[in-house]
Assembly symmetry: C2
Homo-oligomer: 64 residues x 2
DNA sequence: TGAAAATGTCAAAAACATTTTACATTATAA
DNA sequence: TTATAATGTAAAATGTTTTTGACATTTTCA
């Protein structure tokens, strides 16, 4: 599943570390998700969307 | 995390088994998610939302 | 250029999601 | 009432996400 995290994070002028801290996950988790190593849990998806002032449906592009 | 799956599923007149088959997961998975035993993966959340003609953001109510 | 910040990556372990099988309970309808 | 469908639940096994710690590479900027 693709996502727009990197783009929105840069727009928000946050580093991976800052976004991670805001979501209470590790920097490596944010990095892995941005680079499509795996998908976040649903709760984390909501947390990231909220911090980036977006929505889960806008931030993630599911596989059809 | 709460969700509205049971309500929308009934509106769509689907059994847990039918929804499960449409999502390609087991009936127990749908049952567990409806009863808040655990949250679905992000991909499954999108699949359920799509089949129930809804969105992830409408179907799930994240913990704040 | 060179130092510091940011990002990428790996491995092992912990935490969480899903499946399968099986059985119990509840709801529906003939 | 009785059969059937639907739902709830549990344990064990498997697969996926996240953490931590560590180190390498790339980017930024003074």
């Amino acid at each position: 599943m693709e996502n727009q995290i990197k783009e929105l994070r840069k727009t928000a002028k946050l580093s991976q570390e800052e976004l991670a801290r805001a979501c209470k996950v590790s920097r490596q988790t944010i990095n892995a998700i941005e680079n499509n190593k795996y998908d976040p849990t649903l709760q984390l998806a909501f947390d990231i969307a909220s911090i980036l002032d977006s929505t889960v449906d806008d931030l993630f592009v599911p596989k059809m």
